[in-house]
């Protein structure tokens, strides 16, 4: 066991403003949040922190959120971390879930719904562990 830092949510979105917004919303809801705008560093990040939930945009500059999700789910240490994917493409839900996403939310979303969904995943994860 390493003593990695445990946080509630890791937010990954290549749009810094949106990324910051989601962090702000989650912090407003009293969650521990970290964010990153470039998924290239995700592997490195996960060595440092263990998020209870990963929140990820489906289309990221340079890479596909769904591929990352599939990789996470295929990797033993990360396969149980719930992944919630967000997209501006409302029809993307199916492909996201096929890629292993546990939850999906279309853009634009309502603050309360967003917080409810993320909150529910965090609580679930807390119970599981």
């Amino acid at each position: 066991m390493t003593n990695k830092q445990i946080i509630d949510v890791l937010v990954i979105d290549d749009d810094p403003d949106l990324c910051l917004l989601m962090e702000s919303l989650l912090k407003f809801a009293k969650h521990d949040v970290q964010r990153m705008t470039n998924p290239v560093f995700l592997e490195e990040k996960l060595l440092q922190v263990t998020p209870r939930v990963i929140l990820m945009d489906m289309l990221l500059s340079g890479s596909d959120g769904r591929e990352i999700c599939t990789a996470l789910k295929a990797n033993e240490p990360t396969k149980d971390i719930p992944v919630m994917m967000i997209s501006a493409h409302p029809d993307a839900e199916i492909s996201c879930r096929n890629a292993g996403a546990d939850e999906f939310l279309g853009k634009p979303f309502d603050m309360d719904i967003f917080l409810d969904r993320v909150g529910a995943l965090v609580e679930q994860r807390k119970k599981d562990l």
Binding site: D15, D17, L18, L21, M22, S24, L25, F28, L59, A88, H89, P90, D91, K107, P108, F109, D110, M111, D112, F114
Partner: protein, 1417 residues
């Protein structure tokens, strides 16, 4: 009373029967002769003779002429008359009525002592209660007494009344005999067997060419008899003179007409009388001319032969059907060939037994003819026929004509049929083809038009162009130059460009050109893709251009059509009594005002054709007047005639037609315009006055008119004849020239009567001729008045009655001869007394009228037996008989057994002494046999006529050996050959159009070649008709060959097929034109049959695909469709073909270079009146470029959608976060701003997702995530969401039942939100929206959303579901929104197999409905 005892007292008074007793008992003392004791001996002796005489005797005695008479005389005094008081009476007291007659006779005897004598003297006396005409034969003789003085007159008399009456009767009988002989046109003869000489009447002598001698040798008569009959006649005479024969003579033979070689057939009848020794002493009889009957029989035979010949050889099929079972009585060879039946299986059997397949089609028609007697004309009549081993659909032109029995009942039907299957099939095919291309062009969704010449005259424009762009009707534009129709185009680029194409022949294309077109509703802007293609004529020069236009602007509202100004023009001409017409001299089309139809006896709405008008014109006038006038008009330019017309079911009328011919630039007549007026009234009055003038001129009576002063002003021929003055000699002279000096006073009296306006009728007087003779005349004078009614003169009718007065009766021949004649001739005789009404008939008469020889019918019974239809004929003849003295008529009689017989009656009027009509004596002849023959001839002739009349068939007959050609009148008419002109082969060939000659000749050769002997069947044009009229003839015929294979006869028919031909040519022209147009269109056009198999592609398709027509028809069509699109294509096309729904598909076609391009194909079904699909017309438009642009647009929207959402999400998130963190802030600016930003962001979000939905819909890829739920819950949820968002309106929901559905919850919610939002948006002044749920019959739930807002105008209601449509407010202020909401809603509902519709009223509000299937459990 003292009784004398004759024996004792006065022996001279003894005996004497009744008169003896009366004489003895008479108290003679009271008379001037005193007691018998004092009577002189002469009296005693005379009385003794008188009383005992059996002769009637009468005695006047003494100065008082005291009377005595005997028993024999007594009956002459009658029953209630002078007896018995005449005995002992004074003569003057007894005979006052005849005393003036007999007193002089008595006096003469008394004075002279000479006896007088009279025979059959008429002395009417009073007896039997009345004055009676009594005839006497008597002698008056003196009775001389002892002193030698004449003291008495003894009358010995015999009443001869009965004898005289019998003699009179005999005279009348003679008259009757004479008349009978005359009426029957009989010759009479009376042969003395002892001398072999005979007496004959004038007629007989004339017939036999004998001298008018009294006594003729029998040998002379035998000379007139044709040699072969002489022996027969002499034998018959010898036989009749033998007692064993009973004296009967009855033989028919022929005599030669004197001076000619002609033969007269006569019937001789007679009877010989024999004395006690068995020797003939008298042989008399009659001769009757039976030539007429013989001729009729002969004519019948010939007519029948002719009919049968023509029928059997006619190239048209003819059969005769008899009875209600339609038994085939006769069928000609042609008919048998047509129907492929054997004579033995066909003739003598019921038509429907032999040909059951035709019963459905013609059974009721034939039955109807038996019922109504109306002929039936079938033109190109379709009939199924089993022949040559299979059932065929065949076509016939035929006539069914009723055949009538002599009693007018319908016994059968004559059928005349020509098969036209070939022509009809060809026509149908052509018609179909024409229709196909016409539909293709006119129904094509591609707007198109054809312009001709530099003026750009519109020749044709199809529906799409007229309706969507031009907003004109075809009538408004056709034939008019473009700039005249659209003056606003002047200055726009189009006219110049079009002219450029016409000049250069180079096509021109443009896209999205702006056209400003004026039209009903004002100027309008159109964006058009168009192409100008040059049209080349036969000489390859550009004669016009074809314009195809694709309207790329939004659809144009359909405008109301402009009213036809022609109606008003029509009204103006209808005001006058003139009918107007306009005849196209190229096509012979007629346009006319309704009045024309009225004049021609039709309903005003009827449209008459040139041919039908000609047909109504009196056939004689048509040939003699109208056609020459027409030909003249074409030369002179002026058309005028007056002719008779025979309207279909009206009386003959007169018309006056005048017209003007319009010539084209080359002086060829092209049109004729004119008027028609009904001038019947005028003509009738003209005819009347002409008739009157003719009556005056030809009258047998002198007709003279004069002025009141007696000056003669008119004088007719009869006046000249009677009075001897010529008209020119006497007109202007005084009428008194004619009046004998002793009658001059009459004139003054006549003038006085005339002044008072009186008519002087039958005034019998005398007048003087030029040479001074006096004439007995009967004068009728009538006043002549001027227009003010003043008498200014008189007209006189003077009849010479001198001859009438001199008329004497003729007494002739014996009673016996009368009987012989009447028995010998077949005449019945009759007599009617006009004064007493008594009638008498001979037994033969009674036989003729169908009664027993001894019957005694009343006059009324006899009249009642006359056929009701002929009663008027008899009455008219009777009336004429009373006026003219002679009566003659023939009529039908109906016997008691119901049979109909023809009789001919003649009668002569006899007058009494006072010239009053006394009686008719006449004869009656049985004409039945003769009439029946005539009827049969007529029937036979009428069959021929029917055959010829059927479709105006002319007949011809050519004998190759003699080169003789015979045409009937119909043929002559068709070729325009007058009746007097000889028909020669040269003439015939000169009338055939040179272009048609080779074919016609070839066909004739083939028909006349015994090796080929095919039926002659040719069509050619006739030239040389009046006015260079074009006429097409269809000739048919057949040659007959001798055994050594020489044609001996070539006969057939000709038929006018001009109209049909012209119509076909027109059709062909149209077909070619439309086919050409279809081929010239740059778009792909194609047609398919009802089965969906494509059968035509225009040239553009072949050019694009590079396939040949053969490859295309071999299924190549499907091969050019992109493999990915084929399945869908087949499925959709099959669906359309099965349902008739329009076909619409985007698919890719392979171009000849292998590149696929997108096409939009549309096809609609062309349906007939019954809704059956005739054909499919389709077009394919290249939309590849559009498609690519669309794709780019969609890609852009998708991209924009995605890219927009991220910033929107960010904004929305922060706003919500801020709203949350500052929820309790007292900074209202902050909180309000945040709320507003949040609302606008939400709206923006919705718009973006709507746009995306539209894109998906257009691509057909709007996905549905269906789940089961109760619709009521969703409605409630949505209402709550709406309530949260807007406080302006309240939504009232009235659920009536729970509606479970299987649907995309999100999408249905989107539908509801859209409808609610719209309801709010378009009802700014209301605050309620009503939502209802209903259940429809077909298990659907219907949701309605009603608002009370601005509503939607009816014309907009169809469009609100289109993309980008938005309802406008009153003040044209637009409401916000893209207007794509309802488009999406409609799509969503459609995807759920539901329906969306609206009911709305402007300013009242709208209700939107949508239906969804209820989920079954």
């Amino acid at each position: 009373m003292y009784r004398l005892s004759p024996q004792k007292d006065y022996p001279f008074l003894s005996g004497g029967g009744e008169m003896g007793i009366l004489t003895r008992e008479k108290d003679w003392a009271e008379t001037s002769v005193g007691n018998p004791s004092g009577w002189p001996q002469s009296l005693r002796t005379t009385l003794s003779i008188l009383l005992n005489s059996r002769f009637p005797m009468f005695l006047w005695w003494g100065k008082d002429l005291i009377q005595f008479y005997n028993d024999a005389y007594r009956p002459s005094l009658g029953l209630q008359g002078k007896h018995p008081q005449a005995l002992g009476q004074k003569g003057a007291d007894c005979w006052p009525e005849i005393w003036p007659v007999i007193k002089p006779l008595i006096d003469q005897v008394l004075q002279t002592g000479e006896a007088t004598w009279s025979e059959d003297q008429l002395i009417p006396i009073y007896r039997n209660g009345t004055i009676e005409d009594v005839y006497w034969t008597f002698s008056y003789s003196p009775v001389i007494d002892e002193e030698n003085t004449i003291n008495g007159v003894l009358v010995v008399c015999n009443e001869t009344t009965d004898k005289v009456k019998a003699a009179k009767k005999m005279t009348e009988d003679s008259q009757q005999l004479e008349f009978t002989i005359d009426a029957a046109e009989l010759g009479t003869w009376d042969l003395n067997p002892a001398t072999n000489r005979f007496v004959g009447n004038d007629r007989l002598k004339q017939w036999f060419g004998l001298q008018p001698a009294d006594n003729i040798d029998l040998k002379d008569a035998l000379d007139a008899i044709i040699p072969e009959d002489v022996e027969r006649v002499t034998d018959a005479i010898s036989n009749a003179l033998r007692p064993s024969s009973g004296g009967n003579f009855d033989i028919e033979y022929s005599i030669t007409r004197p001076g000619t070689s002609q033969v007269r057939t006569v019937l001789a009848k007679g009877k010989a009388l024999f004395n006690e020794d068995g020797n003939p002493y008298k042989f008399s009889g009659i001769i009757q001319d039976v030539n007429e009957r013989r001729n009729i029989e002969l004519a019948l035979r010939r007519s029948d032969e002719k009919f049968r010949n023509i029928v059997s050889q006619a190239p048209i099929g003819i059969i005769i059907l008899q009875g209600k079972d339609f038994i085939v009585e006769m069928s000609n060879e042609t008919y048998l060939q047509i129907v492929d039946r054997k004579k033995e299986d066909f003739v003598g059997k019921s038509l429907f037994y032999s040909m059951p397949e035709v019963e459905d089609k013609v059974g009721h028609i034939l039955n109807n003819i038996l019922l109504t007697g109306e002929p039936y004309y079938g033109i190109e009549f379709e009939v199924p026929l089993n022949r040559h081993g299979r059932q065929e659909t065949t076509y016939f032109n035929f006539v069914y004509h009723p055949l009538k029995d002599p009693d007018n009942s319908i016994s059968g039907v004559i059928v005349i049929a020509t098969e036209v299957t070939g022509q009809v099939r060809a026509k149908h095919e052509l018609l179909e083809s024409e229709k196909q291309f016409r539909n293709l062009v006119t129904q094509s969704p591609v707007a198109m038009a054809i312009f001709r010449g530099k003026e750009l005259v519109v020749e044709l424009a199809n529906e799409t162009l007229l309706k969507d762009i031009w907003r004109r009707t075809l009538e408004e534009v056709q034939g008019r130059p473009l700039l005249e129709i659209f003056p606003e185009l002047e200055g726009q680029e189009f006219p110049a460009l079009m002219k450029e194409v016409i000049v250069s022949g180079i096509p021109y294309k443009a896209k999205e050109a702006l056209a400003i077109v004026d039209g009903p509703g004002g100027m309008k802007n159109f964006y058009l893709d168009y192409e100008y293609a040059p049209l080349l004529d036969k000489e390859k020069t550009v004669s016009g251009i074809m314009v195809t236009v694709n309207d790329v602007t939004e659809k144009v509202e359909i405008r109301q059509q402009i009213k036809d100004a022609a109606d008003r023009l029509l009204l103006a001409t209808e005001g006058t009594q003139l009918a107007t017409w306009d005849l196209n001299l190229i096509t012979y089309e007629v346009i006319h005002s309704p009045r024309m139809a009225v004049i021609f006896g039709q309903d005003p709405s009827t449209r008459l054709t040139y041919a039908s008008l000609r047909k109504i014109i009196h056939p004689g006038d048509r040939i003699a007047i109208v056609e020459p006038a027409f030909a003249k008009a074409l030369e002179t330019g002026t058309y005028f005639y007056e002719a008779r017309i025979l309207p279909h079911d009206g009386p003959m009328r007169w018309i006056r037609t005048s017209g003007k011919v319009v010539f084209d630039n080359n002086q060829n007549p092209v049109r004729m315009l004119g008027t028609v007026a009904d001038i019947t009234e005028q003509k009738i009055s003209e005819e009347k006055s002409a008739r009157l003038a003719s009556i005056v001129r030809h009258s047998d009576d002198a007709i003279i008119s004069k002025l009141l002063d007696g000056t003669i002003t008119s004088w007719n021929d009869a006046a000249e004849r009677i009075f001897g003055y010529k008209a020119e000699d006497i007109i202007g002279k005084s009428i008194t020239l004619l009046i004998p000096p002793d009658k001059l006073h009459e004139e003054a009296e006549i003038v006085e009567q005339l002044r008072q306006g009186n008519l002087i009728d039958h005034f019998v007087t005398q007048r003087m001729t030029k040479d001074g003779r006096l004439l007995d005349i009967s004068l009728t004078t009538s006043p002549v008045k001027n227009s003010e009614g003043h008498v200014i003169g008189a007209s006189k009718i003077a009849r010479d009655i001198s001859r009438q007065k001199q008329h004497e009766r003729i007494i002739a021949e014996s009673n016996e001869q009368l009987n012989i004649v009447i028995n010998a001739s077949d005449l019945g005789t009759w007599e009617i007394n006009l004064q007493t009404g008594e009638i008498a008939h001979s037994p033969r008469y009674l036989e003729i009228v169908g009664l027993d020889r001894n019957a005694a019918p009343t006059h009324e019974e006899l009249l009642a037996s006359i056929h009701p239809d002929d009663r008027a004929i008899r009455d008219e003849a009777f009336k004429t008989g009373l006026e003219t003295g002679l009566m003659h008529y023939s009529s039908r009689l109906i016997w008691k057994d119901g049979s109909v017989h023809w009789v001919e009656a003649t009668g002569k009027l006899f007058y009494d002494d006072k010239q009053q009509p006394l009686k008719f004596i006449g004869t009656l002849r049985d004409l039945t046999a003769q009439k029946q023959y005539q009827q049969m001839i007529e029937e036979s002739e009428s069959r021929l006529r029917i055959a010829a009349l059927s479709s105006e068939l002319g007949t011809w007959d050519y004998t190759p050996e003699t080169d003789v050609m015979i045409w009937d009148n119909a043929s002559r008419d068709l070729f325009g050959v007058p009746p007097e002109e000889m028909i020669t082969t040269e003439l015939f060939f000169s009338r055939i159009h040179p272009d048609d000659m080779p074919t016609a000749l070839e066909k004739m050769k083939r028909a006349l070649d015994p090796e080929i002997a095919e039926n002659y069947d040719a069509e050619y044009r006739v030239i040389g008709l009046p006015g260079d009229k074009l006429r097409w003839i269809h000739a048919k015929g057949k040659a007959q060959f001798t055994e050594d294979k020489k044609p001996y006869r070539f006969s057939g028919t000709v038929l006018d097929i001009t109209e049909k031909k012209l119509a076909l040519e027109e059709l062909e022209r149209n077909e070619q034109r439309y086919r050409f147009l279809a081929n010239s269109m740059p778009q792909f056009v194609w047609t398919g049959g009802p089965d969906g198999i494509l059968n035509y592609f225009n040239n553009a398709v072949y050019e694009y695909t590079g396939l040949t027509p053969d490859e295309m028809s071999a299924g190549g069509w499907l091969s050019v469709i992109h493999p990915d699109d084929r399945q869908e294509n087949i499925q959709k096309w099959t669906h359309s073909v099965n349902t008739g729904e329009a076909f619409l598909l985007e698919h890719r076609f392979r171009r000849n270079d292998g590149v696929y391009r997108w096409q939009l194909s549309r096809a609609t079904a062309q349906k007939d009146e019954d809704g059956n699909i005739n054909m499919w017309v389709g077009t394919s438009t290249d939309i590849d470029d559009i498609k690519k642009h669309e794709q780019q647009k969609n890609d852009f929207i998708k991209m924009a959608n995605h890219e927009l959402k991220t910033p929107v999400t960010t904004i929305k998130g922060y706003v919500q976060l801020l709203m949350k963190t500052h929820a309790n802030s007292e900074d209202t600016l902050l909180t309000n701003s945040l709320a507003t930003v949040d609302k606008q962001v939400t709206k923006l979000t919705n718009l973006v997702s709507d746009l995306l939905d539209v894109t998906k819909i257009e691509r057909g890829s709007l996905p549905l995530n269906k789940e089961s739920f109760v619709l009521n819950d969703l409605i409630n949820d949505t209402i709550m969401d709406m309530g949260a968002a807007s406080k302006s309106h309240r939504i009232i929901f009235e659920p009536t039942f729970d509606a479970p559905v299987n649907a995309d919850r999100e999408r249905i919610s989107q539908v509801l939100l859209n409808l609610f939002t719209n309801a709010f948006k378009y009802s700014p002044k209301a605050d309620e929206v009503l939502v209802k749920l209903e259940k429809s019959d077909n298990n659907r739930v219907i949701v309605s959303v009603s608002d009370y807002g601005i509503g939607i105008a009816e014309e907009d209601q169809g469009k609100i579901f289109e993309r980008f449509y938005r309802v406008s407010g009153k003040d044209e202020k637009t409401f916000p929104g893209f207007g794509i909401g309802l488009f999406i809603v409609n799509e969503i509902i459609s995807l759920h197999e539901g329906k969306l519709w609206v009911k709305s009223e402007k300013d009242k509000g709208s209700t939107f409905y949508f239906s969804l299937p209820i989920q079954s459990k």
